[in-house]
Symmetry: C5
Subunit: 112 residues, 5 copies
């Protein structure tokens, strides 16, 4: 899995039938900045993930990929390879909290 | 999943039997340009995807990869790892629409 | 899937039993050159794929990866993650043919 | 699989039900430094893995990805694509030990 | 699949039960050097693969990844995503042998 920031959403009306009603989020994988590891920084990549947890723009989420994206009750038969499995409250590296959901408005995360 | 632009198609006559009649699109994954995230830009990569939705050159599509590509009624038994699961109408980032299908003729997307 | 050029083959006598008799091709994924997209160029990567279609050195082939490589009659139970599912006749980008099998002797594809 | 260093953990309260109680580690894949191959160095990437072995920050672990992450008794039905399958005692390259768990306090591994 | 050089091994005593007794090799994917394609060169990446064929340090092996790593009699239920499916005797590119097992002592492969 990886940690990603929700940056937006996509709309698609012509799609595979089983995808009707699925919420499609645009997410951007983040990584720890090197060598300090004291903040999250964007990888610059762009993915689309199905979300059933109510994540919103600006949230950091935990993303699972591949066949495992079908191992939730709602996604079992969907042709999807990327799903939100959690909304991240905090990322703790060594003895430091490098991301905390409530304090994010004042975040200094790069690439934000 | 990821958003990709349809750039063309491939023709193959000698192929695995189950692939007969499948439409093979050449697609190019796009990502949000950094750091502005105000337009889509190409990753420069080239994939081939099966399409059953009627996507055409210039369309942006939603692509699913891996075993999930076999989770549509038409692709269940195909030896494919990449399929179009939707035609993208719009990509919305924060409060901005960075891609809208109807307005794409006048698009300024880089790498187009 | 992706388009790759067959560059050679490998020989392995000590191998998993089910792999006996399998033809192992060395293939090199190609991509459209940017920003023109008017020819194929190598990615510089090297993969090994099982082939049952009779592809030869110099041919461009369509490659499927992952579990889907086991979705052909001959490869169902093999421990393989990469298979040739078609020999490419032509790659057509926008209104241009950037690769055509018969004309390849005089090709100007870079990285060839 | 790959060798990764445990750098921290993440907390997520809103998550897919089956994920309740799972320990989520932040891990960083390492590789052999080139061309000497005499120490491990970070790839700079960041993953999140489920751990059931009690790995702690600073440990090197063996990570398995994809559907195989579901092939342990505890993870069979989880929507996860990354799991710790072992805690690494030593990495031995040619005739040299480039990492040994007990001696790691005095390690000179770069990117640490 | 890809061709990789065996560079070492790892030892892990605390591990998932089903992994007991499995030999864990450190392997490094190689690719054809560009643009000549006349020798193998390292990609600089580091993987860990299960081996049941008796490969040793210095051998080139054929590696299969993902769920296919579980398609050998010995690995069916293991949580592994990377396995040695053959020991490479030779790699033949166009009309040249760029690697031959017996002659490897005098090899000029870069990144060795």
């Amino acid at each position: 899995m990886f940690v990603a920031k929700v940056t937006g959403s996509i709309v698609s009306t012509q799609k595979v039938d089983s995808m009707r009603g699925q919420k499609l989020l645009v997410v951007e994988p983040f990584r720890l900045e090197q060598p300090s590891r004291n903040q999250l920084t964007t990888t610059g990549r762009t993915f689309v993930a199905v979300d059933m947890l109510g994540a919103g723009v600006g949230d950091f989420v935990l993303i699972s990929q591949g066949s495992s994206a079908r191992f939730t009750p709602e996604t079992q038969k969907l042709p999807i390879d990327c799903v939100v499995i959690g909304i991240v409250d905090s990322v703790n590296i060594e003895k430091q909290t490098v991301y905390h959901r409530q304090s994010e408005e004042s975040s200094t995360a790069r690439g934000q």
